[in-house]
Subunit: 198 residues, 2 copies
């Protein structure tokens, strides 16, 4: 399984935001929605062996599980509606027990550290870093976990935590990419790895 | 220069569409907006040496030129507003003379064939095809032009025209990708080509 954790530093933690202003008052939720798109969509297909975790302002995490996902569409607005729908049920998220808020989408009361700790237990955390090994030279783990940040850099405490958990550090190329583009490139390298036509 | 042509088969040709329903009544304009995002955005930067052409229902083409672009934001909605703004001035687009409708954005009364003919005169058309040569083995031209389709396949007449103009045929990998993801992957290969750290 491939997993992606995306940190939304300014993301909403209540459902009272407008779908008409995702890039503004909704704290750049558009960035997180594009990450979900990149994590799951293939042409006329969905990647079932993927999980994407959106960390909302270090308070909640919304998890999309490709094996159960329904009602996911590629546009930002409809994905944001799934996040808003998840936040409607935030009172039900008690402790670290996830609440399924729509098919394949669940909400957990857990911030960055709790989420990274959880995914690290089920896979190998790969840090994307400009000084890392070129991804083309790396031997990808069988269950990679990529941790990315929204339009802000990681906070120092987040970067430290990530460095502690990361078992590999790779670079996707010479240009710094948006998180959603990084997910697309990471998928492509994993897709083509060992592909005999390549 | 890198150029991308994206065909929007169901895209609007008048500005009377709602920004609240890009994936529905606006004919999947969300797909085209994500392609613009992938074509231009780097982390905290814009690719200036890029042009992206959105062909709207074979009637108009909206061109984004990275060297002059202003007011482009990553979210779908604000990019759709630039397209709508361009269509507001469609009466000014006479013959094949482009009308600049906002900084770096212009509208031309020209469909698929006219646009492909124009870009082919300034670059090398590369066809993305599942049976093409793996892009990692290809020697990219200095001014590549990638022609992509929205959520529909190319129409037979479009595919024939494209095959006539294409000088290379490459595959980006074993999985069929959405157009915006294909743009991201194409950029990454071109970015890393000959990059000494790679």
């Amino acid at each position: 399984m491939r997993q992606f954790v995306v940190v939304g530093h300014d993301a909403p933690t209540t459902p009272d935001f407008s779908l008409d202003d995702l890039a503004g008052a909704a704290g750049r939720l558009d960035v997180l929605c594009r990450c979900v798109n990149s994590a799951f969509f293939l042409s006329h297909d969905i990647r079932t062996d993927v999980r994407a975790h959106l960390v909302l302002a270090d308070e909640y995490t919304v998890t999309f599980d490709g094996s159960d996902l329904r009602r996911l569409n590629p546009d930002e607005r409809s994905t944001a509606a799934l996040v808003r729908n998840a936040l409607e049920e935030r009172e039900e998220a008690i402790g670290h027990i996830p609440v399924e808020t729509s098919p394949g989408v669940s909400l957990t009361r857990r911030g960055f550290e709790g989420t990274v700790e959880d995914v690290a237990a089920r896979g190998t955390v790969v840090q994307l870093h400009e000084d890392g090994d070129p991804v083309v030279d790396a031997d990808p783990p069988s269950n990679p976990v990529f941790v990315l940040s929204d339009h802000h850099d990681f906070e120092p405490n987040e970067a430290d935590l990530l460095a502690d958990y990361a078992e590999e550090r790779v670079s996707l190329g010479p240009k710094a990419l948006h998180a959603d583009h990084a997910i697309t490139v990471a998928h492509n390298y994993l897709d083509t790895e060992g592909f005999t036509q390549y």
